[in-house]
Symmetry: D5
């Protein structure tokens, strides 16, 4: 499954910069491993903010929780997970077109 | 996967009551089939409102979309889907405890 | 009565991890007792957050307050209680179908 | 149980005044019967608006739904039900002081 | 005049419990005196929260401010005062039915 | 008592301009009478909008409701009434300084 | 020009009361001078809160900023400035009726 | 004075396209005259929306109301006016640096 | 540049289904051409809603406006465009790492 | 590209005034260099607040992030970036009129 995740990072303005640099380095290393494992697909900064949007993959919301809550910066994160469904106009869909369960007939 | 779904129904105050009764009857029939198929687990009314909370099951958000958008009342629905993850205190969990991917170590 | 409860937990990012582990252990023990007593029915994590949704049972809102405010983590909780009413499509209703008081006639 | 209910009424500005007068008359009659039956305890207008706050009593949220959704003006209502719990400083409590279930110890 | 008052109490999670117990005791004593003086009419807890709804009486908003801002817990309160007007369906109105000033004719 | 009232007017974009002109003329006439009677003290437009802020006087919220709901434009109004209390720095207070009821001691 | 200003004061619950008393005294002295200079016209407390509404006058938003940001309590203020325009029903308008620039014709 | 104005245009999806084209043409003509008169300084579209941000100049909020409410599209507009004050870092300020009234001392 | 775009579609519940089918077919055809031209990169449905999230590419916000406002369904769209900036952890960045203008030094 | 940027500055009320003065001085120096480089076009204070609106230019959202996150006051900033598109009524457009990509035809 794919998820759109918004992450706001609430690091105190007067937080220790060296400590932050260490945590960010750990975060980058973890992100690289998650990208390699196919969990992190794309990620962008929100211009001007300690905030980002990312496209993530996991087998379920439970697995996604394990991934996100294991990130070094997680204690300072305010996260919102948007579940994503297959769209007929997607140029590069990850998930297959779903079957209509019990003959519901395709939605609009 | 389990999802918590909030459904607000926006049927016009002066809508045709007979037409509404027909649509609701279709809706109830569909709900029964979805319950039988294991997709609809629990559903409650929000007291005083044409609104409900429900616990739903589907293999993915894509399948859930097919289910919900196939409901007879769907065109009058304002829906919010909350993805749900396994919780260690759940007395009756549906999904198994997730593995921590790539050795992330358990979350808080 | 059944209630849908959303619990956001506001534990400081730099909070003492050992203290938190102790409190969480107490919380899990209490949750097990509440599940056994039939008060806690289901609970799920909101993926990526220190937040959960739960289905709880109590004889009244007053009893529910006693239960929730007695939880070890309660001082760090931001709670919202949604009252739940019987729904005709509920596959597994806990409360019986209510009588229409003083001949009001069934709602839609 | 007691509930605090906020009711916003969305009657169209150009709605038929005679029809509205008839519906309001039915509503007043119903309100009198509900007051007599002990369901409607107090109700106030929000100054300047077609909106009111009311204190209502019902055995459960399910019964409250039957009461509210049976009101003649209900199709034009936008309702919010706030569940109410016993408070130690209440000069005239309706519900008895709740027992602390399974020895949880009194809340703050 | 009657007012509906919502009070959210923001006592720090790690606040000194003994200090809080002292302040709450003062608050209860003051509430009893205010009830006796007819200012505090009813008060309920919002289940699961340090928050309450109350019906209060005062000759004006100015007097109400003196009452509320004199409460021992006031420095930790986030208060919202909702002014209340007479309603024709009120089973037990405190204020008399108002005259229509300068022949405005009764509202809907 | 004095009240700060925000009034948003929701007249349809394609509403009949002549009908609107008639209603506005009635509204201006009523406003003049209310000003004369001391109920309307000051009123300003929110620049660029069919919205206004006004300072109004009435003996109670109940009387204020009668005044506002009697205005010709009322059916198209979305009104918010803010109750106002005496302030020690008010250069021209309308209401007298309130007594501290039952020896509460002055607020901050 | 006239402005409607809402000021929320965020003084910590455990703030030093003597320091606050000193600052408030300075604030009152400044308010008196501003009233005398015609900048502060009216001001009211929001009942139950450290918050106020005020009508202020200044030649421009720039001058208003100088006035407000010079107040002793300003560092603890959360301010919202609402610009106010002339209204044809104002019983006591401060600003003259504006000309319609470049023959735009009067608005509704 | 300069103002930042956000304009959302609520033209019905099925509105008559020819009528809209006429109104837009009138709007463009008016905008050109307002630009020439120095009232309209800059304006941008919000990408993807019938919405815009603009920098406007007027002698007061009252004059700005006359300008904006005279625009042909005004009946379909939902406008928010943000008053703007001089900033010390403005590369090209329109208004002069304001004097500090009655010796208030410069703000932060 | 890449943009994250949220599109809510407000097609009336009782809208003509055949007309909607025609418009959706046009929309799909346009989406295919935009995908081919590299403007539409990914798109997902929000489960249960007529809403979607998409990753779009355009040379500027101005070009993005032309693209989005040219979509057949645009008149029924409520769109929000989130600008996206390069992120050091992006596994597959589209835009190059930006230079720090005028020696500002790298951001956090 | 041009961007409209809202910046709220959250400097603690009891923050060290001398430290703040130093940071603000650095900020002004940086702003002057950014103005000279054409990145900062206009900036205004929100009257009464530590908040400003500004028109900024950058080649992309990525470059804008480098600029804004390099500002000395950035750690205390809560920033919102609004992307801006060309408008046909702009008296002084910075960006050229965009071409309609792949023959989409001009939007409304």
């Amino acid at each position: 499954m794919e998820f759109l995740v918004n992450i706001k990072i609430e690091w105190p303005a007067d937080g220790d910069p060296e400590r932050w640099a260490r945590i960010v380095a750990e975060e980058r290393a973890m992100a690289a491993r998650l990208a390699e494992a196919g969990h992190l697909v794309r990620i962008w900064r929100v211009p001007g903010r300690r905030e980002n949007w990312g496209v993530w993959r996991a087998s379920s919301a439970s697995e996604l929780h394990e991934i996100l809550s294991g990130l070094p910066v997680w204690p300072w994160m305010d996260l919102t997970v948007h579940p994503l469904a297959w769209h007929p106009a997607d140029p590069d869909p990850h998930d297959p077109r779903p079957e209509s369960p019990i003959g519901l007939g395709p939605a609009g």
